[in-house]
């Protein structure tokens, strides 16, 4: 753990993209052999901090490069934010890019400002890729205008998602709920997120639609507590870790956060506030905490594997791990059922 904290110090001193890429590699190296389940709660905090530090330095370098290039007009205030697992404060070692930029600019200069932001996004995204963060296959990146806008436009866009009934709207809202400031004027993202959660909270029909979205996919656990494995394809006999209750748990907490008008940034913080508001029974909240760290353990452990992918063969799990994973899956299923009931109310 100490080594990781030292690593953060070193990252903060880094001057080049290559250096930062090496620190990303170093992170993977240092985590080998320290992924015991007991250490996960504290480890995942530090791990999130390491990624934050790398990204901050990367965007700072990108900002310097963008300013040097004198493209467009730098906005008065802007903030690079993360979404996905980094946004939720639960990244593994190798995680893809999910991010965006919110900025504030005089209305007449907005297009000029966007030219700068777009250029910044391109450089930042490229740097991150070179440091070992793969591009997002779903194009949830700052280079996509959907995720890089002035706060005013962004709020209008969110309002559109909320008021219309296109199938992708709920997906975009769930993605946006993960936003967390990384670099720059964080108050823009805090305000944006507050706006988002507040609007959903006061829109009962939308909340119901989000609930209906959250109850899928089903947790792949049979009635007898058996794993429902992939039947066909190259991962036959495997479980897709992400869809084995992890996404379901995270999304259920997003729903509950909206219900409680909680704009907390990270999943852990969300869970604490949900517990504080008694939106979950005390016992289920505690079990959810445990399940969350169990998923963090499996995701971290198997993201370090040589053939890093989202699937894990149940044959390589020991008996204790199987029990832990099944327990976590049961909790995710309970959360989905709870959401189903609440969404139906």
């Amino acid at each position: 753990m100490r080594l990781l904290k030292d690593l953060i110090q070193q990252i903060n001193q880094a001057k080049t993209v290559e250096e930062l890429g090496r620190f990303h590699q170093e992170l993977a190296y240092q985590l080998r052999g320290v992924t015991e389940r007991e250490r996960i709660p504290s480890l995942s905090y530090v791990l999130s901090d390491v990624h934050d530090a790398i990204m901050k330095q990367a965007i700072a370098l990108a900002e310097k490069a963008a300013r040097r290039a004198s493209v467009g007009r730098p906005p008065a205030r802007w903030c690079w934010y993360a979404m996905g697992s980094i946004g939720r404060g639960e990244p593994t070692v190798w995680t893809d890019q999910d991010h965006g930029i919110l900025f504030e600019c005089a209305a007449e200069a907005e297009e000029e400002c966007y030219i700068f932001i777009r250029y910044l996004a391109e450089i930042g995204t490229k740097y991150l890729y070179e440091m070992g963060y793969p591009y997002c296959t779903g194009n949830v990146m700052a280079t996509n205008r959907r995720w890089s806008q002035s706060l005013r436009h962004w709020q209008e866009q969110i309002a559109t998602y909320i008021d219309h009934h296109f199938p992708d709207d709920i997906r975009f809202l769930l993605i946006a709920m993960d936003m967390r400031p990384i670099y720059g004027a964080s108050e823009l993202v805090v305000e944006g997120k507050r706006f988002l959660i507040d609007r959903i909270h006061h829109h009962s029909l939308l909340l119901k639609r989000i609930g209906e979205h959250v109850i899928f996919p089903r947790v792949p656990l049979g009635w007898f507590g058996n794993f429902q494995l992939e039947r066909w394809g190259p991962y036959s006999g495997c479980l897709h870790l992400k869809y084995s209750g992890y996404v379901q748990l995270v999304n259920a907490l997003k729903f509950l956060a909206c219900q409680g008008n909680i704009a907390a940034m990270r999943t852990r913080e969300r869970l604490e506030e949900i517990s504080a508001q008694l939106l979950l029974p005390v016992e289920l909240a505690e079990a959810t905490r445990e399940a969350f760290f169990t998923y963090a353990y499996f995701r971290l452990k198997y993201s370090l594997a040589i053939d890093n992918n989202e699937y894990v063969s149940v044959h390589i799990l020991n008996r204790h791990e199987r029990t832990q994973l099944k327990q976590a899956m049961k909790i995710s299923r309970r959360l989905q059922r709870l959401v189903m009931r609440r969404a139906g109310d």
Partner: protein
């Protein structure tokens, strides 16, 4: 008409109806198998059912029926070639009060079904010539031998083996041949990845699969209830009842098992559950009480879904899961009477003894297990020798190019779905030529 003549007339009519139902099952197999395989092979897969039944008809008439039911020794019948009837030639079937032609027609239906099951293991990659050769040999040297052992006065029948309509004689035999074939043929191109993980090769028409399954379900009333070969005491109704209960339990058990195991209520799995249950109850239908029929059907439906997944993971490409549905279920059904044969029904049928749960001891159970193993070993050995020799001589499998093109075009010269697959019909520039 005297009561005896009336009885003869009614029994004959019933057996004829049974024969039509059982022979009609060929249509069920054609639909089931074609629906469960790809469009490019559909004409071949369905059409070969007619070829298969024709080969079986001729070979069973000439030799198969004599070896099965002709008087002989404990292993084979040696009299009655070409249905030539002499004094005591077909004593093994003397219990049935109908003309020999009807006995033959009805039994031919069974031989045809057994052969149809075997073809499941050959699907989508075997040469047409193999169907001719193996079809003939199966109908002469494989099916009749086990038929004789159990029904023709052979050693298993003497031991009191209970196989009312052929869980072992018909289904297990076909399934073991299918298993040997699928192993010797090897998996279809694209079925397995380099690391041996299986890919899905979905059937092209689930509706065909379902209708095929339903035709088989209805045909099974001829198969099982028809096997009474008499209407006098109405016992055929009871056999039909147990048959239907088992099928229903198999459907429910299979779809529930599928939901539990893979999280999806799989339709083809449900159809296979029905068939597995029908296969299992085939041996037991006249020996077990209705509750036991439900248990047997449910166990067969559930277990065979699991074995389908298991064998696939073990690298066996059984395109329509013939070995699980007919082999595993055949063994389950045959062995089930060792547990569930009720004294009341054993007395009516006059075969074997009561099962374990009725205090009948282990005797019947051991007989049933010996029957299953004996039949499986013989069929496996002879099928292996025949298919291995064919593989080394004419070859079992079409070329990779033919397989990729599909057997419709490569073996028969025309597609089952020309508008979807034939370039002449797909390409508009050549369409005018076709229309001319």
């Amino acid at each position: 008409m005297s009561p005896k003549e009336i009885s003869l007339a009614l029994d004959s009519l019933w057996v004829m109806m049974g024969a039509v139902l059982v022979i009609g099952m060929q249509a069920g197999f054609a639909l089931l198998e074609a629906g469960s395989t790809r469009m490019k092979n559909s004409g071949h897969v369905a059409g070969k059912q007619i070829l298969s039944f024709s080969i079986a008809s001729l070979a069973f008439w000439a030799f198969g029926f004599a070896i099965t039911f002709g008087t002989g020794n404990s292993f084979i019948g040696t009299e009655g070639w070409f249905l030539k009837e002499g004094d005591g030639t077909f004593d093994a079937l003397s219990w049935a009060n109908v003309p020999l032609a009807l006995k033959f027609l009805f039994q031919l239906g069974f031989a045809g079904v057994s052969l149809a099951i075997a073809w499941g293991g050959f699907a989508e990659r075997a040469k047409l010539a193999v169907y001719f050769i193996f079809g003939t040999i199966f109908t002469v040297l494989i099916y009749p031998v086990i038929g004789h052992w159990v029904w023709g006065g052979g050693w298993l029948g003497e031991m009191g083996m209970q196989d009312f309509a052929g869980s072992t004689v018909v289904h297990l035999q076909g399934a073991v041949a299918a298993l040997i074939a699928t192993i010797l043929l090897g998996p279809r191109i694209g079925k397995f990845n380099k690391d041996k993980t299986p890919n899905v090769i979905p059937g092209h028409n689930q509706v065909y699969t379902v209708i095929g399954g339903f035709i088989l379900w209805v045909g099974w009333f001829g198969f099982n209830a028809g096997s009474t070969m008499a209407v006098g005491d109405g016992f055929f109704g009871y056999v039909a009842l147990t048959t239907n209960l088992a099928a229903a339990a198999g459907a429910v058990a299979a779809i529930v098992t599928s939901k539990i195991m893979i999280g999806k209520a799989d339709i083809p799995a449900m159809v296979n559950g029905v068939l597995a249950a029908l296969v299992a109850i085939t041996a037991a239908c006249a020996f077990v009480e209705p509750w036991a029929a439900v248990v047997i059907g449910a166990v067969a439906g559930a277990v065979t879904f699991w074995t389908s997944v298991y064998f696939e993971r073990k690298g066996i490409d059984d395109p329509i899961y013939a070995f699980s549905v007919h082999g595993i279920a055949g063994a389950i059904g045959t062995i089930s009477t060792g547990f569930f044969a009720s004294p009341r029904l054993v007395e009516i049928t006059g075969v074997g003894e009561a099962g374990l749960v009725y205090g009948g001891g282990f005797h019947q159970l051991i007989v049933q297990v010996v029957g299953v193993l004996g039949a499986a070993v013989y069929v496996a050995a002879v099928s292996f020798i025949v298919l291995f020799l064919l593989k080394k001589t004419i070859g079992l499998r079409v070329t990779a190019e033919q397989e990729i093109s599909g057997l419709d075009i490569s073996e028969h010269g025309s597609y089952g779905y020309p508008e979807q697959l034939d370039p002449v019909f797909i390409n508009p520039s050549t369409k005018s030529v076709v229309q001319q």
